[in-house]
Amino acid sequence: MSATTFGWLVLLFPLLGMLIIAFGYRVLPGRSAGVIGTAAIGLAFLAALGALISLQGQSPGHRQLSSSLWSYASTVGVDAKLSILIDPLSVFMILVVTGVSTLIHLYSISYMDSDRGYARFFAYLNFFVFSMLLLVVAGNFLLLIVGWAFVGAASYLLISFWYRRATATSAGIKAFVINVLGDVGLVLGTFFIFKHTGTLDFLRAFHAAPHVFHSGEADLTAGCILLLVGAFAKSAQIPLHTWLPDAMEGPTPVSALIHAATMVTAGVYLIARMHPFFELAPAAQDVGAIVGATTLLIAGTIAVTQTDIKRVIAYSTMSQIGYMIMGVSVGAYAAGLFHLMTHAFFKALLFMAAGSVIGAMGGQQSLDRMGGFRKAMPFTYGCFLIGGLALAGIPPFSGFFSKDDILLVTAERGGWHWALYVVGYIGAFLTALYTFRMIFRAFHGEPVPEARELEAGHPHHAEVPRNPATGEVEDTDVGFPGPEHTIAERALPMRVAMGLLALGALGAGLIQIPKVDFVIDDFLTPSFAGSAQYQVHTKNGLLVFGLCLGTLIGLAGIALAYRIWVLQPGIALAARERFGVIYRLCVNKWYFDELIDLVVVRPAAFAGRLARGAFERLVIQGTLIDGTVNVVRASSAVVRAAQNGFLRYYVALLVVGVSALGLYFLLQS
């Protein structure tokens, strides 16, 4: 089979899985929905492997294959087809997406076990994976936009999964609204590019790009910046990031799947995919790099102060996506995508381990309440530690190689990019600090009652499930782990999923060791054949310095975290007192929610009130509607006077009328 056939199969399996679960949930016995969902994604992963093998069988010049099923519309200047593009970049993405998703589905089989919405959850999850794959393999702008919007919709469904929980539904709406803002940016950006290239097809548009655009052209720059708006909204970059931390209201596997491994990486993929345009628009590239660097720094500072364990990981995700966006914006495509892959492994692992801890805490997510789980849950502790070390960039864990790769290419651009290089290492220090703050606070120290209970063999569960954010009693009709809820240590599927991801987090970095092998670089080369900024095998100079610096900074962060939260627990409070302003700034998330409220929400609400109160009442209701009514009423009053009901009056009118007509025609002739 050809690579494109495998590409279609990759799309088919999750779609089938979703349809089977969605329409058959009443007849599916027991836990079969979870098995079907997992099998569907597993088959998609196998198909992705098939695509990889088939693609590698081609010569490097012929590794960009597109295939089209049918045409929606083909007139002069519009070629809207259902077509996919299979090239190393899309195969790389589908491998990461299906691989990590399979494990997360496996994890969910146990994690969602006692949830009332079990089948619904897997239908949504399969729909999400289908949308993400559609986005990734799309062969033209049209299908990309469709996948892009589907992903946003699936994200909304999954964040609001526990739909009786007010905080979850409002978080879902927030995510959806911000994502739609990104959709609008993507569509408008597409128009700017389509106007000049005249084709929606990726390959033809990329070939046309150097001929129809000259470098730095205003239209192209505007188009690329609009594409960046789409990428920022999906990838939670400042200032469109506020939905990501709130999205932690969804079940933990959702956080692992959407908000760490797949959906938020769509922006990175978009920039890498659109590199022929971005390289002709240096201003847009600079915007991307600066926003990425800002995000990674700000998200890092916020993560240090948050107490909700999932939110800390969410801000860490934002920060890591910032690295990737910065990387693909400065031309470090292979490094950015490499980091995307390693990040998918260790971040999904961290979320799963956090889910295990939350399960053991009976739904509590606050780090203030946790402690001493090391003995109670050694397997989870090991997984969290591996994920944490990979995130902090300690050799030989995967994050070490990929993060330094990005910063190295950034530095090689020279000039003001050195500032980004420095920011990147400050971010790395913060990363190590907040990661090990989490580990030390959740797993070390005095065991909390829940941990002791677990050590004695009874997993703790709350008498009544309560929303950790508001303290409201949860409505168990729509889900929530019940008393029979199992935690990670006891459920085999969760252990398998976490174990495999831990292996990935441990070893994935070895695929591409600087100066030793270049698997990712070489594999992706055909996708970036026309790129002027794509470079392979030239990494030296700063390489050794960067690797050593990265290691030292990571270790320094861990050491500081150890000193603050293990050796002298009082320091944290003292520092909070001493740097009150900075602490308040960070713990309130740099007031971005308040800023957006002030700049966007309040003016919009004011305009809405004005429209409803004044415009609607005076112009629409007062003038247009009431005006029409009055005109009709006045004219009908005249006509109504004739209808007085006297039969004799009607006859007289008739006679007079007929006589008048007769007279008229007599006089005419």
């Binding site: 006509v639 004739a642 209808q643 009901g645 006297f646 039969l647 004799r648 006859v651 007289a652």
Partner: protein, 99 residues
């Protein structure tokens, strides 16, 4: 004899009928006056028929008589229905179709 005489008689009968329909309030008399109007028309038709020497006008007059018979049947039926409901036998009282 000139056709004008016939037409004059026909016009007089028609006008008498029309005035009767307009000024009388008893529905029975209104119906009678309607018959007068129709027969005025019939007279004119037959006169024209004789003038042209063919039967078209007479055939039309027969049709008018048929229509008149139907109309009287319905009209009398309605008057009986009004009477049975003890409503006033007066067209000015029956003005529920006022706009």
């Amino acid at each position: 004899m000139s056709i004008a005489w016939y037409l004059a008689v026909s016009a007089i009968i028609f006008s008498l009928g029309a005035v009767g329909v307009i000024v009388r309030r008893n529905p029975l008399v209104v119906l009678l006056c309607l018959e007068l109007m129709l027969n005025g028309g019939n007279l004119a038709l037959i006169a024209f028929s004789r003038m042209w020497g063919n039967g078209d006008g007479q055939i039309l007059a027969l049709v008018v008589m048929t229509v008149a018979a139907c109309e009287v049947t319905i009209g009398l039926g309605m008057i009986v229905a009004i009477y049975r409901r003890r409503l006033a036998i007066d067209v000015d009282e029956l003005r529920e179709l006022r706009g």
